[in-house]
Symmetry: C2
Subunit: 338 residues, 2 copies
């Protein structure tokens, strides 16, 4: 029996994953539901946001059910949500969870869960805490965990602490502008890093290549329309040996390396951990990414090597990290491996 | 008598400024010498680097002379140098101090100063420590101090600590790439932030405007050659009301705001402090910079305001910060106001 138990609940764009973990990070229960579609409220009706709160509570109840009598050892629940989370647990800005903006996640989940203390944080920060505590970044005093999905999320470990900044919003690495004349981003700017080096960035690079005639076989498999080419078509073709698709992945890798080099210049981490849904595709281009990174970081020949490695907790990283954060009284507290 | 005294010595591109400060930051002595020109050694002759060490020692001796019997209270000296400074006090990478690369500044200055403990750090980090301890960033737990000179240096205050990263190289904000197809940088990359938003960036933007016929009066004053236009010609003309020059300054301001927005997305500081030689020119465009920043930072309408203010210690910031750092046994230690 490793001390207290906590719940960790990761609210993703398509599903909500919940885990019950013990003080050593062992997973004692798992539950999953589809993320309700949140519709922006035109009036006072916030039934959409309410549905998300209900779904989180539903996952928590399932986990308690699985735990049975062990549920009495639960002390707290951590919840990871996409967007900017203020220190008071409110979702301040949520471009990827329409209608969630302004939602008091901590207060409302807290009222549904009754006796459990609730901690709320950004989903990528939770994933970083998970990887830092039990995964690929374990033991690092300075690391950046990069979550590559539809967009790019980030969690910064600086001076052996999770960095949240002055208002809780640090780590929005996907919205670092790397080309002000680049494609528009849902955030309102142009040329954000996640327009190039994420899953949606890969789709865009692929369609550009398709229109330029560099992805003939992939376009044929997608039904002949360059606009129909998706990121997963390219990664599948690249894995099967299509050189055009491999070139597109290398282009993605170059943009990924550019952003990592920027982050290395700013924060000088000992390692980068790459996680998220795009990681399987990255396996194919990890060496080119490392080479491009060395070329792009300042003074590479005079620096110790910066490790670039893949996450090890997979899709559970966010929920595990949320469960770890739930152990702390204060979400700004020091969080390190046990 | 406020406790121990320390020396703070700031090695700049043109001059070396030294101060003796007490534990409350009061300046008790000041000395200044020209920075010797360091010539890259083709062979084992490192007379150039030796000249810099001698000049630092010369400044220290002048300060001791001014202090007189008070010099007995000196415990340590801090030295700020341009470039990447490793944790052992070696200058690892120094594009702005040719021939200084690989120089063991701590060891060599230490041998010349005899009984004084020597701490070495990056010059912009020293300036940040100065502004954080006694200047515009005093009391902030999360702040970024941006030094705008020929290039752009940075000092990051994260979680109430100076951030140095895993190897001591953090804060190289000027080499964040913001346009990969932009102008080349001496660091070897293209489109680094300092190619746009520094003194040399201003000169480049000005010459572009001059060639495009947007700076007729400034070109005339510079002798008729657009290539002869310098940054200071533009700031002088803008201050005198030249609208073409003001437009160039606003362009600089937009690029400055872009980089600040990137840093806010990453680190979520409570404030930015702008220092360095370009600050006087910035006075004219600070409001446009704030407006552009609000437009560029993610989720501005859902964030508390991020302050953007000017440094208050002027050209002394680096030397004062070096003197503050000298008080610590370990340069990675927590450094806060007394």
């Amino acid at each position: 029996m490793a001390g207290q138990l906590t719940l960790g609940i990761d609210v993703g764009g398509t599903k909500i994953l919940g885990l019950a973990i013990d003080g050593a990070g062992a997973v004692l229960a798992e539950a999953k539901v589809a993320t309700p579609r949140v519709v922006p409220a035109e009036n006072d009706d916030d039934s959409g946001a309410e549905a998300v709160i209900e779904a989180i509570a539903d996952v928590a109840e399932q986990l308690r059910g699985t735990l049975g009598t062990e549920a009495a050892r639960l002390s707290a629940a951590g919840v990871g949500v996409p967007g900017l989370v203020a220190d008071d647990g409110t979702l301040s800005f949520a471009p990827n969870l329409p209608g969630g903006e302004g939602l008091d996640v901590r207060g409302r989940v807290g009222r549904r869960l009754g006796d459990l203390r609730v901690v709320v944080d950004n989903d990528a920060t939770c994933a970083a805490v998970g990887e830092w505590t039990y995964g690929a970044a374990a033991g690092a005093t300075d690391a950046v965990v990069v979550t590559l999905g539809t967009g790019i999320g980030g969690g910064l470990i600086v001076n052996n602490r999770v960095t949240r900044g002055a208002h809780g919003f640090a780590g929005e690495i996907g919205h670092m502008v790397v080309d002000p004349s680049g494609p528009s981003c849902p955030c309102g700017k142009r040329g954000c890093w996640e327009r190039f080096a994420s899953g949606s960035g890969l789709g865009r690079l692929a369609r550009e290549a398709a229109h330029a005639g560099r992805l003939e076989e992939v376009v044929r498999l997608a039904g002949g329309d360059p606009e129909a080419v998706r990121a997963e078509d390219v990664t599948a073709a690249a894995a099967a040996g299509d050189t055009g698709a491999q070139t597109v992945l290398e282009e993605l890798g170059w943009w990924l390396a550019l952003g990592l080099a920027n982050l290395a210049n700013l924060l000088d981490p000992a390692l980068f951990v790459l996680g998220g849904g795009l990681v399987d595709a990255l396996d194919l281009v990890l060496e080119p990414v490392r080479v491009a990174f060395d070329d792009l970081v300042e003074g590479r020949h005079r620096r110790p090597e910066v490790m670039i490695c893949l996450a090890t907790l997979g899709e559970r990283a966010g929920a595990i990290g949320a469960g770890v954060l739930a152990r702390q009284d204060d979400r700004a507290g020091v969080v390190g491996p046990d």
